[in-house]
Amino acid sequence: MGVGLPMDVVLGVVIKCLVFFFIVVTAVAYMVQFERKVIAHIQSRIGPSRVGPMGLLQPLADALKLISKETIFPRGADKVLYLLGPVFASAPAFLSYAVIPVGPNLSMFGQEITLYLADINVALLFIFAVASINIYGVFLAGWSSNNKYSLYGGLRSSAQMISYELGMGLSVMGVIMLAGSFSLVDIVNAQAKMPFLLLQPVGYLMFLIAGLAEINRIPFDLPEAEGELVAGFHTEYSGMRFGLFFLGEYANIITTSCIAVLLFWGGWNGPGVTQYPWLGPIWFTIKLVPHLFFMVWTRGTLPRFRYDQLMGFGWKVLLPIGLANILITGLIIALTQR
């Protein structure tokens, strides 16, 4: 395999990968900036404003600061695992962008260009698989730091992520049943007439809640609850290693928002897209921003759950609702298609 592919195809894929990676990293950096600004305004501050016009160069300054900081090995740490932790936490976050389509096919430079890296027929499952690998980053970090706060953070987040992965999986089942495919491109195309948000409101709500829990955001950020666990699993990390955790977390915020847009808001579908395909990514971005804002908004306003409440909610509320949702969706599909 890999043999017989023409050189320009390979080159095209490589260029596309690089462009995608660049866009995602930039988006992540400005997601941090966005969050700091919004949180600041929620708290009646102005937020970062010194570096560059309106503080727009702040992410660059942050990156420079993180890179130039000293990295520390805690005493008694398991060195290999300690180094692997951040890698496992950030690499999967970027991996899932490979299957996220942001627009319909465009013709550019005289050839058809697809606005995704791969349209595999199990794309949605792929994202879930990648997300499940993400847990290991938290695990490894918590375990290898040789620190009780880290260990508790790791334990908590593993339990939380397993529990809410179920809720997340169940919440998207309705969409998969309606679209009849795991492929994200197919799912978006199935929403050409009507976004699934109108057909699956319960699923959408569940997805948002479980998504927040999956990426350890407030109100589900118990793995890094500052009040009790210092900083949770990444207590012992400094410099760019900490930066990688940060990068992974914010990349996950964007991923989750992207999936919410793709599955429930119709992806790039919008007025005028069929005539002008280049409107696709613009519609996609317009739909993405409210989701990103939502993620920040919850952080700015909600208090943190208690641990038993968190687990109880995941297993006793989210799971039954998800199952009922699937059952009802299935019934309706079966009744309307006969």
């Binding site: 395999m1 349209d119 595999i120």
Partner: protein, 108 residues
Amino acid sequence: MNESVLPMLVPVAWYQVLAAVLFAIGAMGVLFRRNILVIFMCVELMLNATNIAFVAFARHLGSLDGQIIVFFVLAVAAAEVSVGLAIIIDVFRKRGTVDLAAANILKG
């Protein structure tokens, strides 16, 4: 993504060799390790070996039935692990170790 349409590139025997080697490694682990957790993991290795064999034969015979069996193997593995780990935690609580030699309460 159209990989399934391509003819099989590797003879099925090689997959069976891989499965057998994996199974043997797992069996060795079960026999030689004393940590119950590691023994458990080695059982997973053996299950995994059978999975490879099933999928390879399914491909070889041009049917999907072998892949379905793997689903059931996965389900059984999940059930086995959940109960097994509960037992291990219980043993650890009572004995303070996960050494297999400590789990000899039934020995007369």
